[in-house]
Symmetry: C2
Amino acid sequence: HPYDCQSSNKLVRIPGLIDLHVHLRDPGQTHKEDWESGTAAALAGGVTVVAAMPNTNPSIIDKETMQLVTKIAASKALCDYVINLGASSGNAAHLPSIAPLSGGLKMYLDPTFSNLQLDDLGVWMEHFKHWPASYPIILHAEKTRLAAALFMCSIFKKPVHVAHVSLREEIMLIREAKKAGLPVTCEVCPHHLLFCQDDIPTLGANFSEVRPRLATRVDMEYLWDNLDVIDTFGTDHAPHTVDEKTGEKPPPGFPGLETMLPLLLTEVHRGRLTLEDIVLRLHTNPKKIFHLPEQPDTFVEIDLDKQWTIPPAMKFSRCGWTPFAGFNVRGCVRKVVLRGEVVYVDGKILVQPGFGKNLREVSTSMVIPPSAPSTPLLG
Amino acid sequence: HPYDCQSSNKLVRIPGLIDLHVHLRDPGQTHKEDWESGTAAALAGGVTVVAAMPNTNPSIIDKETMQLVTKIAASKALCDYVINLGASSGNAAHLPSIAPLSGGLKMYLDPTFSNLQLDDLGVWMEHFKHWPASYPIILHAEKTRLAAALFMCSIFKKPVHVAHVSLREEIMLIREAKKAGLPVTCEVCPHHLLFCQDDIPTLGANFSEVRPRLATRVDMEYLWDNLDVIDTFGTDHAPHTVDEKTGEKPPPGFPGLETMLPLLLTEVHRGRLTLEDIVLRLHTNPKKIFHLPEQPDTFVEIDLDKQWTIPPAMKFSRCGWTPFAGFNVRGCVRKVVLRGEVVYVDGKILVQPGFGKNLREVSTSMVIPPSAPSTPLLG
Ligand SMILES: [Zn+2]
Ligand SMILES: [Zn+2]
Ligand SMILES: [Zn+2]
Ligand SMILES: [Zn+2]
Ligand SMILES: [Zn+2]
Ligand SMILES: [Zn+2]
Ligand SMILES: [Zn+2]
Ligand SMILES: [Zn+2]
């Protein structure tokens, strides 16, 4: 293991991280973030692959909007990526033909920052019936709606990846689904591991707005006690500007790309996680769930010991704030190498927009056969 | 087939009807109904077996409350009966030992007229885990909560009888569950077949309060178009007084025992139902779902042709109103024979309170092996 000559801190290499849950706000709300600023933030956080969510403006729900976003990404992305499609009330029958262009199908089954919320269970069923099993269905489905969606997963036998699990009840549902052999995996976000309702006063009601909401301390601790059920970490990087967060109706969402790894490394020092836990849930499992190709000559060099305090806002995300401001963390990203190129070193991006690749265009030849992991596999 | 000598109307004999969904309000709210008035109303409607719901006061959730209601029923019931237990947040582990005393386990998963509503999915799972498969779980679970409960049915393989289906989406869910071989049966009430939201102005907002709410015309027609999925009819006889229905917060619920059969017979004349449809869903299937013994020498003599108008209030229910007031119907109950005794003739009850029997005490020897029907069987 190489050492940082100046500080003789321990440097460690890990594979490039894969964040399956990123909102880049591009097209349509680029004042919050765009494909360039968001993927820069990703690299700064050690993330070399992002799965971009479809609740842009316009939403990514058909061939035309997918082509629009594909062009934008090709010209601006700094890290590699896949682009998720969004399930809408009318596009179930059209999606199979364009599924291979996508990371997976995002279904919004609860009210959140999107106009893609599906209320009619008949529409849910249409999507579960038509969507091809070789690509995951990503669910924003909380509590009872998660159980309802798991029913459809069991009936139509389609692989489901449950986004941002936050509740004890959701973990219990998923544990039972896995025990019954259903193709279910799930994600947890750092903010649901590190914040609960008790933190709302300190964060402020506006800034604490996020969906799923911050839960109880019991829920938060239940997540920690049941990591064996949790397949992936993800940021649910959902940038909004400070003005928007302090305005009348603050939109829900936290930025997270530049803070996830340092926060998780700090938990390694606290003994609540191991480095293997991180690699498993931010590289091995996400790659398997989304059938992504391995990125050749790609790794992240991290300084395990560097102690620092998270500032009011991180450098690359355009949103200009972070709920983790003031956190004392231990560990940071020093260097990122992507497909043999040094793309990031100590706070500087070294490649031009457009360097990032769409892994669905790369991967047509190297797709790993579709089989979602029922139990998390070591990296 | 015998004829009524006076009117030479066609008299027909059908088996005693089984209503799996009756609220007798006894103990605790006997100003609305009690075991005597309610079971009198049952006989007047051709119903010779009622399954009494547990949302009484106290609720029927343990050995003590079950024994309390068993005594009341034994002294007051005019027709035969079983008594359902209610799932509460704390009684999952205690219920198996007293399940054999009950008709089945009622779970309230939506807000309705009960203090037994269960919100924690972990509690749902406890009940699905512990309740013995030889007795049905009866669900008040609407739309998304129905799908969630069907997930638990699929995981824990426990037979579920879905009460008062009212929505297209619910029929679609149940059709998929049955197609997948899950042990699911379902009930529809006359008021969801005969009323929809368009009727609220005529009924009046207060009197139209019922859970599940009156649905859209599309939902109502979908029920008619999908009778093959519907295993039982039931009244969900839920009496409240006129004062209560016209008060501040009108409690939800319609009386129905004395009007169900005449209304359904009218639909036979309209060609929307056959007599076999009625016998299948009000005798054969309910008996099978609840593993009830056959009632010896028991039948109902009905006049198929008698035309009359439903009055503002029916004779036996204490609640003093009916949403079906003014309906012109064709068909009525002339005579009911229960275990060889003429118990009802032309508006008169001929037996004393206490004549009715608890079929769980009778049936210990003659229980039909537990196997819920996946498709409705002809009578
Ligand atoms: Zn279709
Ligand atoms: Zn979400
Ligand atoms: Zn999200
Ligand atoms: Zn790898
Ligand atoms: Zn238990
Ligand atoms: Zn109900
Ligand atoms: Zn009811
Ligand atoms: Zn019979």
